[in-house]
């Protein structure tokens, strides 16, 4: 019973922490001054946040097939999220967007 309770608490802590990071990422994407900083805020926190949330859900699921599937999704996200962020930033750089905030017109 206490082990179950500990698992519950652990998973909730992980999920809440994850939600916090995702939320921060959202605020960052809204409040940061230019494209690169916004993207930076969104991508980093998203990767961390989703992984924390998924770990929490895995703890909830226990040792089942669902947990293995969730772990697979986690690995997938670990690979794709940073790659997508890189590709996005690279595409912006190639299309001539300068990383200096004073030269980029704000998003209208």
């Amino acid at each position: 019973m206490t082990a179950g309770l500990a698992l519950d608490i652990g998973s909730w802590v992980l999920m809440l922490a994850g939600s916090f990071f995702v939320f921060v990422g959202g605020v960052g994407a809204l409040r940061m001054p230019d494209f690169y900083t916004r993207m930076h805020a969104a991508s980093l926190t998203d990767t961390l946040g989703t992984i924390l949330i998924l770990s929490g859900v895995i703890l909830q699921a226990g040792l089942t097939l669902a947990a293995i599937k969730l772990a697979a999704i986690m690995v997938f996200l670990l690979l794709t999220c940073p790659t997508a962020a890189y590709a996005l930033a690279n595409a912006a750089r190639l299309s001539g967007l300068s990383p200096r905030p004073e030269q980029t017109p704000g998003k209208d």
């Binding site: 690979l79 790659t83 590709a87």
Partner: protein
């Protein structure tokens, strides 16, 4: 209750996205928002217990149609000119029609009402008979492939027609000319970007593997030939983007794709005719084997395979037809 609140939130978000799509003058953002729209609506479908539809909408709406739209944008232009006139007429027609539909809604059964006619007639029969007559856990697959298999045959031919149409309009029809155009610099895909290339190459086999899983696991969980076809072609398209079109065509040439398209369509129709030849009706799988339930299983696997083949073939053909057009310019 929580689910309903969540759903209402998502639906509202959906409306906002829709308005954003219409207002955006940049077609590229409109296409991206449309992909987002599809993902949101897929989540709503999932909440409403339609797992198969959610999977398909995510694969098709957010995946395939976005790729096609981007391909078309690359060949045309991604800015929209300022529209002239006709807005009032459009607004009038749209509002009146919407009001008529809302007027009708007040007599409609509420969301989830177990007394609604759709839950009283026909549907209970499917839920009851599927274990007895077909014996697959996924009732959606049972209806799709067997009870209403004739509709799915039609669906297969719809996508077949689209493939023929795109080939007719965009390719030169011989299936050979396109290849000679390919090895240009642009066809080399993402070769010069190291990180996406490595990660992408890592993912391709898993995407194809997942596609095959969805193909053959469709009897038990969400999935089936169409979703599998969309996933496998997504894998191959990713491969084409990384390694260049020519390499993708080396794996699956235009000719091989055409063969897949025709083979899938013939396989499905052939299974249907086998029903007639064995003395029953068109598309009756029960007579395929001595045991009716085993016959149903065999029939469902075969026709899902046919759907998977044709869908993969058509989607890849369409992708290559658009891409080959780009190189000709």
């Amino acid at each position: 209750m929580v689910v309903i609140v969540f759903e209402i939130f998502l639906l509202t978000l959906l409306v906002i996205t829709a308005v954003g799509i219409v207002r955006s003058r940049d077609l590229f953002s409109a296409v991206m928002l449309l992909g987002l729209f599809s993902l949101q609506i897929a989540v709503i479908f999932f909440i409403l217990d339609a797992a198969d539809v959610a999977l398909t909408e995510a694969a098709v709406g957010a995946g395939v149609s976005t790729v096609l739209l981007l391909g078309a944008l690359a060949l045309t232009s991604d800015r929209e000119a300022r529209p002239k006139g006709r807005r009032l007429l459009a607004l009038g027609v749209a509002s009146i029609t919407a009001l008529i539909l809302i007027y009708a809604s007040f007599d409609q059964p509420r969301l989830g009402d177990p007394q609604a006619p759709v839950h009283q007639h026909v549907a209970p029969w499917y839920l009851e008979q599927t274990p007895k007559q077909i014996d697959v856990p996924n009732v959606v697959t049972a209806i799709l492939a067997s009870f209403r298999g004739y509709d799915t045959l039609g669906e297969l031919f719809v996508i077949f027609t689209a493939g023929i149409g795109v080939l007719f309009l965009l390719a030169d029809g011989s299936g050979r000319g396109a290849r000679s155009q390919l090895p240009s610099a642009e066809a080399q895909g993402l070769r010069h970007h190291l990180i996406p290339r490595v990660v992408g190459a890592l993912l391709v086999p898993f995407i194809v593997l997942f596609g095959l899983y969805v193909q053959f696991h469709g009897d038990f969980g969400p999935g089936g030939g169409f979703q599998a076809g969309a996933l496998v072609s997504a894998g191959v398209i990713l491969y084409a983007l990384i390694e260049g079109e020519a390499s993708a065509l080396r794996v699956l040439s235009f000719r091989a794709l055409a063969g897949m398209i025709a083979a899938g369509a013939l396989l499905y129709t052939g299974v249907g005719l086998a029903g007639i030849l064995r003395g029953s009706q068109f598309l009756d799988y029960s007579v395929l084997l001595a045991d009716p339930i085993a016959g149903q299983h065999l029939g469902i696997i075969l026709i899902e395979l046919g759907v998977g083949l044709t869908v993969t073939g058509v989607l890849l053909t369409i992708f290559h037809a658009f891409a080959a057009r780009a190189q000709k310019r």
